[in-house]
């Protein structure tokens, strides 16, 4: 995805976040969603695993405080009404099902909502998990934002993961550069909620590793 496509994808995710939602944005692509939120017309409360609930922006040059950062280690500037807490409280909040939505990146997602986003399975790779497993299973809804296919053109929406799982049955919705899809508990198919203009159903199906149910498909925002 180029920058423009990434911003459009982030905008599609943000449009589906209701006012008053408690939202955690994973590092990488999901952090872009914050650029489409904010403003008094739709207030959303952000959660970051390192201990803040509230609303914030990236801290401008000159106002950066090394002790005030988000999960991506980026300095932030708080708006009024925030709260700090320690790490165990932060992860209690996630695991206890209090966050409405968490948005994560992914290597693969299965039709039943299994998520792989922490490890490629390459034995040479240095593993790191961080908060990924807690986030995956904790929120009421887990959204994934990712490219529809990998660098080799292989589908990232699959019938069964080939990468090591981060969590099972946890992803409810998948946003990619070419569409928005809902997972299904039985893993038989995904339901398309949106496909990008100019693409046929066949073109989308060909890039997807599971059967797509197009019966719900509608143009986003209509």
């Amino acid at each position: 995805m180029n920058t423009e496509e990434k911003m459009a994808l982030a905008g599609r995710v943000a449009a589906d976040v209701p006012e008053g939602a408690y939202l955690n944005l994973g590092i990488g692509l999901p952090t872009l969603v914050a650029n489409h939120l904010g403003g008094e017309e739709k207030e959303v409360i952000l959660h970051t695993e390192n201990g803040v609930l509230g609303r914030w922006t990236d801290a401008p040059e000159g106002e950066q405080d090394p002790d005030l950062i988000n999960a991506g280690k980026v300095p932030i500037k708080l708006l009024p009404g925030a709260a700090f807490f320690h790490h165990a409280d932060s992860f209690s909040m996630m695991r206890g099902g209090h966050l409405d939505i968490c948005v994560l990146g992914a290597f693969q997602v299965s039709a039943s909502g299994d998520l792989a986003n922490w490890h490629t399975g390459d034995p040479q790779a240095v593993p790191a998990v961080g908060g990924a497993m807690d986030l995956a299973i904790g929120a009421r809804q887990t959204f994934v934002m990712m490219d529809h296919v990998d660098r080799e053109g292989n589908p990232k929406i699959v019938s069964e993961l080939t990468y090591p799982p981060t969590g099972l049955g946890c992803v409810t919705r998948i946003y990619t550069n070419i569409g928005t899809f809902e997972t299904s508990p039985d893993g038989s198919k995904v339901k398309a909620l949106y496909i990008a203009p100019g693409l046929t159903q066949e073109q989308v199906q060909r890039q997807t590793g599971v059967e797509i149910d197009f019966s719900l498909n509608k143009t986003h925002g209509e």
């Binding site: 803040v52 609930l53 009024p80 009404g81 925030a82 807490f85 209690s92 909040m93 206890g96 904790g138």
Partner: protein, 220 residues
Amino acid sequence: MINKQISDPGEAISRIKDGNTIAIGGFGGAGSPNVLIDTLITRSDAKNLTIVSNNAGQNEEGIAALLKAGKVSKIVCSFPRMKNAWVFEELYRRGKLELELVPQGNLAERLRARGAGIGAFFTPTGYGTVLAEGKETREIEGVHYVLEHPIKVDVALIKAKAADRFGNLTYNKTARNFGPVMAMAADITIVEVSDVVAAGELDPEAVVTPGIYVDHFFKV
């Protein structure tokens, strides 16, 4: 704009349904949400409630008044035997009120576990006692533990000192007691506060219960 302040607690209280489990804050009188309890008595038809609370009320105030109103079938509690707890005693002796007696630390931790998404936990408290009878046990590094389960709470009624429009709360002295863990444990948390402050007036370092755990608050 997010604003969790309500002017009429009766509407929020009407979300309580027959058979619900209601956690009520307070340790003795400190932190007891008496206005919310009175609203529950006068404005709700819900029956067969289970109350989770440290005490069972005194005289005919607070939880004692709720018990007297005949809305409660069970109480989960650590210390119902207080001075002037005659309402509880009378119902209990007549077999009109089921009591689940829980050691106080287990009560707090079972609420916290519910809020924190913990499926069950091992605690040494109560091992070998009548309060652990029939419960799973395990010896870990030479210490005996009892497996305790979370308490599922439908609605929490608590009292705090100050709230901003996001529902961030601070408490007053020892009136904090069970408020934070009950707010975490409940599906719906309703709070009575004495002060409402503008967003930003509560120091983010000093917020005790973040607004994520609060659904409605109103000023008494």
